[in-house]
Symmetry: C2
Subunit: 344 residues, 2 copies
DNA sequence: CTCGGGATGGGTATCGTTATCCATCGCGGA
DNA sequence: TCCGCGATGGATAACGATACCCATCCCGAG
């Protein structure tokens, strides 16, 4: 391959001739393969360093591995994904794998499917897909050919690994917390238009909200507005909720990002948090801990989840075929965005 | 290539035999090359659709294009980058290019350099690098071989295109705004440890702050704390500033993310924004507009910058060799985080 | 002294696609 | 009738690495 400035990229043959050995020998050193003496290894490594050789990932992809992991995120705007990636990257870096991220389009099954194809076309060694909305069959078809870890989805599969938190426990914690504070008119912000699958985490959070409300005799106060787990979605949903009479005294948003939007709507309506309306989120994205936000939320340790996803993926690439499911138990983090309702 | 479930991936030869033509003909259709009749095109396209053929990017990379653009972001946590990517992706999708994102490690030159290498190894057709801190020589070496657009850096180059805002104007707007409100003890939060290069945007923002302060006879009140453009950095810097006696009445943070951290520190210290301390940021990330945050900031239109970066990159891939520099003029967006200082 | 086998290094087909030739066909002009 | 040329389709050598298989060397056992 000739580069634009006329210099050839350094290839394995350059290294081989420089070290006076065969390309096979160099390849073996690169792959840590069996049948290389210490002397050979040293000689080849010296030539590699001297020439500044770097393996050509595309060429590798034709026969072997690419040492590349593809990550599909709905959208990089969600700060919780940054927490996940911190743990994921850390785990991968140790194994000299590189993560590449593609955006799957928040809750858009077609876009998500395209993103997945793009990764397969690029011959990644493994895939991490976060909160996917595509059908399970599609996921499994993918996973049969490429090691796959699915993060944040509840259906079980024999062909991919799952990393998730117990959304039922988490949602229960949030709703119970608000009820314990004395709230009765508690509303919920969810996502819409993704089918009724109980595998999707927003469905579980919404159903759990309804169940817990009913268990406490608050069935008549159930109010779910389904928009999306984004600031915009949270804002729209909260505006709609605040316009109702009587308006809710507390809002449980299905994600921190949506809670952010809800906070904005509450302030914009001239109401105080938590004085007039309590707001709780879900994810405990690091940014929610900041003092001026201080959002009550449900913690699922993103960094741990990401780190685990990385480990599971490496194991699968290493040959494991059994299916693993890793679940973290969420906890309530009560901060200053929730308080008892005003007495009336 | 045999996939794990025993099925071969559909290749160009499968399409060729199915359509009863040569692989060359199929390749020509795929590339829109010269020398294909309408009949041929239709026949081949039908076979492609029937078999669900998708080009193998890695194999393509061995001889031609990958239709992949690499994006190096310091870290996906910064919400302003999401704004940039929205515009960028939109522009690329129309040309059937796929963007892949790698994290460059906030302000870590070694990590950034590795991320860049990773993209080159993967044979991307072009590179967008956002707010890089590596030496210009390294950037140019890269750009000579791969079409490159640099976003958010002020050095001029004949080999890559630049997209940026006028940071001098922006910083001036912010400081002048605070001065016009009546502030005198105005502090600034910057980044540290990246060398004194005047090409780096934080350097320009910091120097402009100092210049404007001096021009208004406020040289004695200049106070710069250099941490990093992150929430954590903004928080640490603000804590240090608030501990000083007398403490500043206004803080101009070099980025919205740092301003976020500063807001947290102010609240934690039991002080009010803007009553006790005014805070201004830079970037106008969409999230800053939310009512409960309502951060005064400097707008540089991220979506436009991203869209332009995409266009320039496609042009370069298309063969343009002249160098382009696209600069947006920032504007002040005054919100509720700034106000006149309390009378004392 | 030969033989067997482990350790080491190398030859080479192969992965899927592109790009550079080369071959063929049909048709109009000399 | 023959020649030349444009239009079209195909054969094939790369691209850079891997992995299978084979060749060689050395050493101890029989």
């Amino acid at each position: 391959m000739v580069t634009r400035d006329g210099r050839r990229r350094v290839t394995i043959s350059d290294v081989a001739s420089h070290a006076q050995v065969s390309t096979t020998a160099v390849s073996k050193v690169l792959r840590n393969a069996y049948g290389v003496s210490e002397a050979m290894r040293a000689k080849v490594q010296a030539a590699i360093d001297e020439l500044g050789y770097r393996p050509h990932a595309a060429a590798r992809a034709m026969r072997g591995r690419t040492f590349t992991i593809g990550v599909v995120l709905p959208h990089i705007r969600n700060p919780f994904f940054a927490d996940i990636l911190d743990g994921f990257d850390e785990e991968l870096a140790a194994a000299r794998y590189q993560a590449i991220i593609v955006q799957g389009g928040s809750s858009d099954a077609a876009a998500e499917s395209r993103a997945l194809d793009a990764l397969v076309d690029r011959q990644v060694d493994g895939i991490l897909i976060v909160a996917p909305v595509i059908p399970r069959a599609r996921l499994e078809e993918m996973a049969r050919n490429t090691p796959t870890v699915v993060l944040g989805r509840h259906d079980r599969s024999a062909v991919y690994d799952s990393v998730l938190d117990d959304d039922e426990v988490g949602a229960e914690l949030a709703v119970e917390h608000l009820i314990a504070l004395g709230h009765r008119r508690i509303a919920h912000i969810s996502q819409k238009g993704l089918g009724p699958s109980v595998a999707l985490l927003h469905t579980i959070r919404a159903r759990t909200y309804e169940r817990v409300m009913a268990e406490h005799g608050l069935a008549e106060h159930i109010a779910v507005v389904a928009t999306s787990y984004t600031e915009e979605g949270g804002y729209q949903a909260a505006r709609e909720l605040l316009a109702r009479t009587p308006r809710p005294t507390a809002v449980f948003a299905g994600s921190d990002q949506a809670a952010f939007g809800a906070l904005a709507a509450v302030h914009e309506a001239g109401l105080a948090v938590p004085g007039d309306v309590s707001v709780a989120g879900y994810d405990n994205a690091r940014v929610t801990a900041l003092a001026h936000i201080s959002l009550t939320t449900i913690d699922q340790d993103g960094a741990i989840m990401g780190k685990t996803a990385g480990r599971l993926l490496l194991e699968r690439i290493g040959g494991r075929t059994s299916s693993v499911r890793f679940s973290v138990t969420p906890t309530l983090v009560a901060r200053r965005s929730t308080a008892p309702p005003a007495i009336r």
